[in-house]
């Protein structure tokens, strides 16, 4: 798999919008494209995984195991969305399982190598971490909105009197 194809795929994703082309080449050198047929597992919750992933094509669901409720699907991701960030930021232990909802292709980036690059080249590290932070911030906002349960049936509100 040549670096050029990886660079091409990466460059089309929102993750790469503000990264200089030279950086994409260096990330691509540490990455590969992986295909997952529909219904296959990208990784399991609690398993070790040392690749940061970005969805290029397709859809992926994130599931968490809740005793008494089984597998609970918490969110689905599409092209441009980042997953397995624990590989980069955590100990490499996955916080969710990931399942392909349809035929999916991801860019899988070797976390250990990229982290070494971040350490040795602070500018590179800053740019990359900023993108990761932004992706996580957006994920946080989306999760909060889910938490707000905006479509919950509102109980009929009866004014009782001013506080």
């Amino acid at each position: 798999m040549d670096v050029e194809s990886v660079v091409y795929v990466l460059s089309k994703l929102r993750f790469s919008e503000r990264l200089p082309g030279s950086m994409l080449v260096r990330i691509a050198a540490l990455a590969e494209l992986r295909g997952f047929p529909a219904h296959s597992v990208l990784f399991r919750e609690n398993a070790d995984n040392d690749h940061l992933m970005i969805v290029a094509v397709g859809r992926v669901a994130l599931d968490m195991q809740v005793p008494g409720r089984g597998e609970v699907r918490i969110m689905s991701l599409g092209p441009g969305d980042m997953l397995a960030w624990s590989a980069l930021l955590g100990q490499g232990r996955m916080t969710t399982s990931a399942v392909a909802l349809e035929d999916t292709q991801v860019v899988a980036i070797r976390a250990r190598n990229v982290l070494q690059l971040c350490e040795s080249e602070p500018e590179f590290g800053y740019q990359l971490m900023r993108q990761v932070a932004e992706a996580l911030a957006n994920r946080l906002v989306a999760t909060r909105l889910q938490l707000l349960d905006l479509f919950a049936e509102t109980e009929p509100f009866v004014p009782q009197g001013p506080d």
Binding site: T154, P156, F157, P159, G161, P162
Partner: protein
């Protein structure tokens, strides 16, 4: 402060004079003509609008002292008939009544039948309307009779009403009609406008209807000296106005200051008591409630005055939008002085000062605006 310009199209040579001794005949003629004459009277230690049949019903020899949070009647040392300013009532209660049936529904075999509720009120002759009130009527005309919707009750009563205005000869400390360009001089919107002199009234005619009413009364042409006297007493009102509201760019100032800390500050004083909206001559908020008879087959829809200061005025399923006093005060003030301009092309405020007088904690909207203007957001 310069006086408001004299009325257009009414050359002074057309001003008439009506002796006070002929005023009772004037009232009688109005009643006989089918009008219900409403004018200032004294009740519960205030000057309020009620039926006036005899000149003795007027508050002759009384005046009002007003400041923020205070209203007192005081005896004058003369017998002036209209020697006071404005009380808690305004003409709005006649065209836009506090409580009125707007529609009714009857259950029939085929479903509900809807109909108007005939308005039984005779035409009003409103006596003693001040310039600020004429301004307020013009403002409410834009709300209730507009290009999209018309309130039939308002329109009917308004079209049939005779408006006999009275020029102010003094001002209260709460008046600021000059800032809002509505007074103190009556310039338009009346059928007749009176200025009180010791023994007579100068009478300006503002419409054909006014002219017709006067035609059978023993009026004479006002002499130049009478006209000068009238001008002098009207000038007294102008000279006594001390309060100002700076209206320069007020729409953008207020709608651009929706998060100003002043709203929090005024909320520590405002009780959300709704007095200001009740006495304001332009406030128009209302609610309709269902009143059904015992069988449930006949329902009347009663419209009542409502107020944005009511806690649940902005209730939506799920909650109350303006849950805090801060929000409600902001709504009232920004609507009155700013949003109203977007909605109706004019300010909602006519500078009558009632809201200042009747606020139990003396909140003065001219001060609130000044505070925001001084420290723009």
């Amino acid at each position: 402060m310069t006086a408001v310009a004299p009325p257009r199209n009414l050359p002074e040579s057309e001003t008439l004079l009506l002796a006070k001794t002929d005023f009772q005949a004037f009232l009688d003629q109005l009643w006989q003509g089918g009008y219900r004459v409403i004018g200032p009277t004294i009740a519960q230690q205030a000057i309020v609008y009620d039926e006036v049949r005899r000149v003795e019903d007027l508050p002759r020899g009384w005046t009002d002292e007003q400041r923020g949070g205070q209203y007192r009647l005081k005896r004058r040392d003369d017998d002036a008939w209209f020697g006071f300013v404005v009380g808690p009532h305004s003409p709005k209660r006649y065209f836009f009544p506090p409580q009125v049936a707007v529609a009714q529904a009857d259950r029939t075999a085929n479903g509900w039948q809807f109909s108007e509720v005939p308005d039984q009120e005779p035409p009003y002759a409103l006596l003693g309307v001040r310039a600020c009130e004429l301004g307020a009527i013009a403002v409410q005309d834009r709300t209730f009779i507009n290009e999209q919707y018309v309130d039939p009750i308002y329109r009917r009563r308004r079209e049939r009403a005779l408006i006999v205005a009275v020029n102010c000869t003094q001002a209260a400390s709460t008046c600021f009609c000059t800032s809002m360009k509505t007074g103190p001089r009556c310039t338009k919107g009346f059928d007749l406008a009176l200025t009180e002199l010791p023994d007579s009234f100068t009478v300006e005619v503002g419409s054909d209807r006014g002219e017709e009413v006067l035609s059978t009364l023993p009026t004479i042409m006002a002499t130049p000296s009478m006209l000068r006297q009238a001008e002098n007493v009207r000038q007294q009102a102008v000279d006594q106005i001390t309060k100002r509201l700076d209206t320069k760019d007020i729409r953008d100032l207020l709608l651009g200051s929706l998060e100003h800390p002043r709203w929090d500050e005024v909320a520590t004083r405002c009780l959300s008591c709704t007095n200001c909206t009740m006495v304001c001559p332009t406030c128009f908020c209302s609610s309709v409630k269902e009143v059904s008879d015992l069988t449930g087959d006949h329902v009347q829809r009663e419209r009542e005055w409502d107020t944005c200061f009511n806690w649940d005025f902005s209730y939506m399923n799920g909650g109350i939008v303006r849950n805090q006093i801060r929000s409600r005060y902001r709504q009232w003030l920004t609507h009155k002085l700013a949003s109203w301009i977007d909605q109706f092309g004019v300010s909602g405020c006519v500078g009558c000062g009632r809201c200042i007088t009747w606020c139990p904690v003396a909140i003065d909207l001219t001060e609130e605006v000044a505070a925001i203007r001084e420290n723009p957001a």
